[in-house]
């Protein structure tokens, strides 16, 4: 059987989390709002309305570009892209066809491969239609939301790499703080271009475009499906048709939507209502200064302490990473807290806590310190950690919480010896003491347990073991 190599390029639309829309001054955050309640006369496409460029969106776009290791074009322009659809009130979308704000760049995947960015541009989002039986409803809350569209070069050659690329884009954009990154609500959407060619061939096959994917998993599955589908066609001697295809998560299949040959002519023209965007290199530099720490920074910082796997897991949670970054002077603390994050916070039953405020640096450092001083067992540490998220407790300091929970361990040797003596004096431990002296190591566990019981769990088990050994030798 012939082996086919896929070639994949991805376009990604990122909704920017600016306060207001790209060309009007209405609220850009339509979450939990009534349909058509965040719409200005400009977004509604009334006659005589003119776009008014939101400078915050320009700054966000610059920041997005810097996150993509891209050149920022100091002069960029807007163009109109025309098509008729009820989600597009003006009959054209204001975009940047000819002179985009973001130039060539690249995204480095966790495996070290680089995917080149062709360009990225600023544009406005369209509204949303919901189709009912016999009629359709239009919601223009999203119309005019600023988008950055990131266009990659066809540098991706497998489904898993396509997933990694989209995930890495998501990380870059959320770390840069330019989007809420809520995939479920369409904050980032992916159009994936896929073609296959025989291994060793210099020519690319005919590509199809799967539009509007909104999760990394569906990007991966859609690529897998398309590669299989296209391979089967070629095996049968048939041709792949250049077309746009839709994806269904439910069926796990792509289906043809419209053929590119009859695709709309968008009649691009320069937007005459807006002056070109002109930036100074000082303005770009200012944005560079504002750019938060990016995944690559965390990777190089934490790779040796935590290992690549744990770093990759935690990278999905920018807030956890930035919390760890607060602890960087203390590698042991980073390691312990990172483990708590992954074992406690990311455990399925606790993921809702991720929406809460994280513990303070002081709380976390105290937690680690108590553990290191044997004042908290690893179980105790977990218990205290969870209480950091308890609305009744979270404002208290670590020691207070540990005391209130009664999990501070007894490390005072004299006090421990007294407890051990009490236990050794009890008749029910006499047999075990004799057995131990006779060489039966395993009964030591029983004795330790008895001491722990007597101390109501506060004794440090390894200290207890030590005391028992010396007393019974």
């Amino acid at each position: 059987m012939t082996k086919y190599i896929p070639t994949i390029g991805i376009e990604c639309h990122v909704q920017l989390c600016t306060k207001t829309k790209l060309f009007s001054e209405v609220d850009n955050d339509a979450r939990l709002k009534e349909p058509n309640s965040c719409v200005s006369p400009v977004d509604y496409g009334l006659p005589g309305m003119l776009p008014r460029l939101n400078q915050e969106a320009v700054k966000y776009a610059v920041r997005a570009g810097l996150a993509l290791n891209s050149a920022i074009n100091l002069e960029s322009r807007f163009d109109r892209k025309h098509y008729y659809y009820p989600d597009l009130p003006k009959g054209y979308q204001i975009t940047q066809m000819f002179h985009p704000i973001i130039g060539e760049g690249y995204v480095e995947l966790p495996n070290g491969n680089k995917v080149r960015i062709e360009h990225a541009h600023l544009e406005e989002d369209a509204g949303k239609l919901s189709h009912e039986s016999g009629y359709s409803l239009v919601d223009l809350n999203r119309a005019g939301t600023p988008l950055v569209e990131i266009v990659s070069m066809p540098d991706i050659h497998s489904a898993s790499e396509a997933r990694d690329y989209t995930k890495e884009l998501w990380r870059l954009m959320t770390y840069a703080g330019v989007t809420y990154g809520d995939l479920y609500n369409g904050n980032m959407r992916f159009d994936v271009n896929i073609s296959i060619a025989e291994e060793g061939s210099n020519e690319l096959g005919t590509r199809t475009e799967v539009k509007n994917l909104n999760s990394f998993r569906s990007v991966e599955r859609a690529v897998e499906y398309e590669v299989k589908r296209q391979s089967k066609l070629l095996e049968k001697g048939e041709k792949v048709i250049q077309e746009t295809r839709g994806w269904s998560d439910a069926t796990g299949e792509t289906t043809g939507q419209r053929s590119k040959e009859v695709a709309a002519d968008y009649r691009y023209m320069p937007e005459p209502d807006l002056a070109p965007i002109r930036l100074s290199s000082e303005e770009v530099e200012a944005e560079k200064q504002k750019l938060p720490k990016m995944p690559s920074w965390y990777r190089s910082k934490f790779h040796d302490v935590l290992g690549a796997d744990l770093v990759e897991v935690l990278l999905d949670y920018p807030q956890l990473m930035s919390k760890l970054a607060e602890l960087t002077s203390n590698n042991a603390a980073v390691k312990k807290i990172a483990n708590l994050f992954s074992s406690v916070l990311l455990a399925e039953e606790n993921t809702s806590l991720l929406n809460d405020e994280l513990p303070t640096k002081e709380q976390l450092l105290a937690l680690v310190e108590m553990n290191e001083k044997n004042e908290l067992s690893s179980t105790g540490m977990k218990e205290v950690f969870l209480k950091f998220f308890d609305p009744e407790m979270h404002y208290k300091d670590t020691r207070t919480i540990a005391k209130e929970l009664g999990v501070v361990q007894e490390n005072d040797t004299e006090a421990l010896e007294a407890i051990v003596d009490t236990v050794l004096a009890k008749p029910e431990t006499q047999k075990a003491q004799e057995d131990f002296k006779a060489g039966q190591e395993k009964v030591l566990g029983f004795l330790v347990g008895q001491v722990m019981k007597e101390s109501k769990g506060k004794a440090n088990p390894s200290s207890v073991q030590e005391i028992l050994r010396s007393k019974l030798s």
């Binding site: 006369p41 005589g48 009649r267």
Partner: protein, 459 residues
Amino acid sequence: MKIANREQSAVELVREALAKAHEYQDEYHVFNWINDDAIRKAEEIDQRIAQGEEVGKLAGVPYALKDNFLSPEGESTASALILEGFNSPVTATAVKKLEAEGAIMIGRTNLDAFAHGSSTENSYYGPTKNSKDVERVAGGSSGGSAVAVALGIVPFALGTDTGGSIRQPASFNGVYGLKPTYGAISRYGVVAMASSTDCIGFFTHEAEDLDLLMGVVAGQDKNDQTTLPDFYRESTAKTVKKVGIIKDFDNEAVNSEIREALKRKIGTLKAQGYEIIELEMPALKYALAAYYIIVPAEVSSNLSRHDGVRYGYRSADASSLGELYENTRNEGFMPENKRRIMIGNFVLSSGFYDAYYLKAAKARTLIINEYAKAFEKCDVILTPVAPNPAFKLGEKINDPVAMYLEDVMSVPLNLAGVPGLTVPAGKTKSGLDLGLQLVGPRRSDRTLVEFAKVLEEVK
């Protein structure tokens, strides 16, 4: 200041204007809508004056508004069926500024639908008649506004000029018509024709009134990012010494009475000691062609929003989304609108863009440079506005190219963004109005207005 020289009460002024508006309406069809409620605003202003309150520079002055300006007063129809029933929630910046100074809108004037035309015959509501001869056109597209001033209904009217739509009807009706520098006045709230050439301007009886109006209305607007930083009030008029004339415009295609009017005016200026500079401006011959590519392109784009989905007219006869668009737009637009939409779509089509739009944009740059060169040699240019005086109704309506040729001397200014001012220049033997246009470099609006006052005195 003649329009602010209040010898009558606001109520008297407005009542008189409304009476005239009604009196002339049947014969001339100046208005799409007459604002009888205007009288209430006049009463308010008189009360404020009586109470000693301060009122604006235009308090109680009635004016006429071209029906492509948005305001909640009356429907804003742009003389097109597709906007019938459209009550705007938004007020145009220009209207806001006038009203803030107390001006009172007494009616919305007729125009070629969406300002597409040079005669006001393309109005869905029928043509406006010329103020001197009702068998002739008012000119266009701001025909209603020009005639409203010419008939003495109002002392001033608002218009828009995309390729001559203020200057040509002003010359056809013997009034002043100013198309300011592109970007001098906010376009916010004015139904767009071609965004890169649309200008808001005025019709008046006196040149001096233009100065007052520019002082009120011009200026930067955050809602129109193509407006220039305020310059009018700060600028000083340059003393004109050298007047340019364009050799190429003195040809057989221009009506002889217009050429004579220009020669007379030049003679007078020479006698007054002005230097007359003959200019060669060969790039202007590309202007009409470039204009009728760039403008339809922008028109087709700007009119895309009229789809019957959100406001205005919607075809009753549609069973699918495609039909809703097709039927609404087919029924709602006038033939000239459709012609320009089709030309625009054609020149923007993929594969044609470079050959048409891009080439026209290059020609536009040549024209801009040509004006810059000309104004190194002279202070202002004096030319005819149009090749002919007001023509007969129906004479050119079926010959779009003949109609477009009417714009040959007015459109170059719009492509270059320079200001132009129509000044009355006597009458033809048969009594039709003649006008000439003064052209200056960008931001020379005040110079033009001041020089128009000089011409007024030397006539």
